[in-house]
């Protein structure tokens, strides 16, 4: 085990996998010489050279299309979109192509590619640069989606993503890059897809979360513990495959659940999760599942109002209290 940041864990995963597989290439805007807008690709150009780590024009749709073609041709491209917001320029290649090609061609090919995208709000980047688009990806079949909460998962999930032969959308939270944690040293350490983590065991309420929301949920659980409320926190880790079993079992046990998502509430993935809990635990739920979600507004710049638009420890805490209060 070594302590390192989420950023460095991602960097290490990229390095280890590039060393392991000569078919792996990395490209994206400013990933090589500039070493990435968030410095996740630091040192890769020096180690692997410009044949394998490449800067691209600002052409997002074609970045994804290039990766699709390269993967079809037998490479293992791991591309970066500078932030998830720019995925909106690439939805055609992501949704119309990447996610459909294997199926529409009758299984005759597969696309071993990863699309890394930093995202999330909270840095006063305003409406066009603060989006949480995980629901868009989760809604579309044909690709896997990982969104790590910890440095260990950052490394383990990214390595699994790279070795996966499905296209993987790999989301990274901009506010987690500097977060630190213990990471296994074993270069064969992989984190599984489709297996949620019970990151904190508890008895009274289940909190279902992912990525930065998991971090906030754990803090909320810590605060609530002082009031004698015991929360079980589930970190989804991957949104596709989705490990519904784990959070359903937990909710059945606790009888109460709060679902936390950073994305917009309307038609957000939290509705799907909450419904699954309601459906599976209809007889055992003591209160309706509560959703904590991003507000349905374009993100404002000003930090004093921006903070109101994103789930916070306080909003999770009060959702948990509400669920307890509403319990029959």
């Amino acid at each position: 085990m070594s302590e390192m940041t989420y950023r460095d864990a991602l960097n290490l995963a990229l390095r280890e996998e590039m060393r392991r597989d000569p078919a792996m290439v990395v490209f994206g805007e400013d990933v090589a010489l500039y070493e990435g807008s968030f410095k996740v690709t630091r040192g890769l150009l020096a180690e692997f050279g410009e044949e394998r780590i490449k800067d691209t024009p600002i052409s997002e749709n074609t970045i994804i299309g290039m990766a699709v073609g390269a993967a079809m041709g037998g490479l293992r491209p791991v591309v970066e979109l500078m932030t998830v917001n720019f995925a909106l320029l690439a939805m055609d290649q992501l949704i119309n192509h990447m996610a459909k090609i294997r199926s529409m061609f009758g299984g005759q090919t597969y696309l071993p590619m990863v699309v890394r995208m930093p995202g999330g709000g909270g840095s006063q980047l305003a409406a066009q640069h603060s989006q949480s688009l995980e629901s868009y990806f989760m809604h579309c079949p044909g690709m896997r989606i990982a969104y790590p909460a910890t440095p260990a998962d950052a490394k383990g999930l990214l390595k699994s993503a790279i070795r996966d032969n499905n296209p993987v959308v790999f989301l990274e939270h901009e506010l987690l890059y500097n977060s630190k944690g213990e990471v296994p040293d074993d270069p064969e350490f992989l984190a599984p897809f489709g297996r949620a983590n019970v990151v904190r065991a508890g008895a009274d309420v289940t909190i279902v979360a992912y990525a930065r929301m998991t971090v906030l949920a754990l803090q909320a659980a810590g605060e609530l513990e002082k009031e004698g409320i015991s929360c079980e926190v589930i970190d989804l880790r991957t949104l596709n495959p989705l490990d519904a079993e784990t959070f359903i079992a937990s909710a059945r046990k606790t009888g109460r659940a709060v679902v936390v998502e950073e994305c917009w509430r309307s038609a957000g993935l939290g509705g799907d999760l909450a419904h699954r809990i309601h459906e599976a635990c209809f007889d055992s739920l003591l209160a309706p599942v509560k959703r904590v979600a991003g507000l349905d507004v374009p993100m404002p710049y000003s930090r004093e109002i921006e903070k109101l638009c994103i789930p916070r420890v306080e909003t999770i805490v009060s959702a948990v209290r509400d669920v307890l209060a509403a319990s029959v």
Binding site: M66, M72, G73
Partner: protein, 325 residues
């Protein structure tokens, strides 16, 4: 004076070009019939009139070269070697189809033949073609990628992004624009600021030529030259093939936006009879031989229809198959 055909290809190869065009034509006309009968559903875009492009180009490409196209790609696939019966079965939506009935008319695919797909999003195949070319270059394979698209595709962002990228990274791609003058009902000059399509590559420093897409030999020569240039320079080339579709955009389109006179002019340039005349004139085939070829093609297509009809539908389980690895 025109070069004699024998100076270009062997007798056998020359006749084969005719055979492939005839097979394509027979196939498309059979599709139209099967569509009318309700056996083929969805969108059906036929290639009749444009055969010289697919046939001439394919003949000039190596077996290892990748080919990608849009949704008007039956002929591209068949000329490349896809079995007509499996293509027809695909159009019928049968389990024996080239893509198990999942893709249909617009999404043929056969990696064994390096036929890397028909795509239905206008311009969608260009970035993918660049990616395939990059993979070949990265692995130092002697393999170029030929990417076909229509005149309507040249105003998509992907066209621009892909051409810039292909030249920047020196990717071995041959871009072929099949200019049949219409994107559905919109004539090129009503969608393109510069309607001379091949001139649009000036902004990317990509060499570009125009070729008569109704003349299979002209296409063959132009593609052969361009492909050699790609191999020699490691850089992209661009070709505009001037052609015409004899039918509407799809089976749903009566093509009222074109005049009968225009249609007649192009009918007179039909690549099949024109090439047949040349073969006859140069003594490469007799009228009987050509008739026999057409008969044979007709029979192959008939067989394909019979096969497709007799084939089973995909089972219910197919719904969940072939999505994830």
């Amino acid at each position: 004076m025109e070069t004699k055909l024998r100076a270009i290809l062997s007798d056998h190869e020359l006749v084969r070009l005719y055979e492939q065009m005839a097979l394509s034509r027979e196939f498309e006309e059979a599709c139209a019939e099967q569509y009318t009968k309700g056996h083929i559903t969805g969108f059906l875009h036929l290639y009749s009139g444009q055969e010289a492009v697919a046939v001439g180009a394919t003949a000039a490409l190596h077996k290892d070269d990748y080919i990608l196209s849009a949704y008007r790609e039956h002929a591209q696939a068949i000329v490349r070697g896809a079995e007509p019966k499996r293509v027809m079965a695909e159009l019928f939506g049968k389990a024996t189809g080239l893509c198990k009935g999942k893709g249909g008319s617009m999404h043929l695919f056969s990696p064994d033949l390096n036929f890397m797909g028909g795509y239905a999003i206008v311009g969608g195949q260009l970035p993918i073609a660049c990616g395939l070319a990059f993979s070949a270059k990265y692995r130092q394979e002697d393999r170029i990628t030929a990417c076909f698209f229509g005149d309507g595709a040249v105003n998509q962002g992907t066209f621009h992004e892909s051409l810039n990228w292909a030249r920047l990274w020196e990717l071995p791609v041959l871009f072929v624009c099949e200019n049949n003058f219409y994107g559905i009902g919109t004539e090129v000059h009503r969608s393109s600021a510069l309607p001379t399509v091949h001139k649009r590559t000036c902004g990317y420093d990509i060499p570009s030529e125009k070729v008569d897409g109704m003349d299979v030999i002209a296409v063959f020569k132009a593609v052969k030259y361009a492909v050699e240039k790609v191999r020699e320079t490691g850089r992209p080339q661009f070709l505009e093939a001037i052609t015409y579709r004899f039918r509407g955009h799809s089976m749903a389109d009566p093509a009222k936006y074109r005049s009968a006179a225009e249609h007649e002019i192009w009918k007179a340039r039909d690549p099949l009879p024109n090439y047949a005349r040349r073969l006859l004139a140069e003594g490469l085939a007799t009228e009987q031989e050509l008739e026999a070829i057409r008969q044979r093609c007709g029979a192959i297509v008939q067989e394909a229809v019979t096969f497709a009809e007799a084939s089973p539908w995909p089972g219910e389980q197919a719904v969940w198959e072939d999505i994830y690895v």
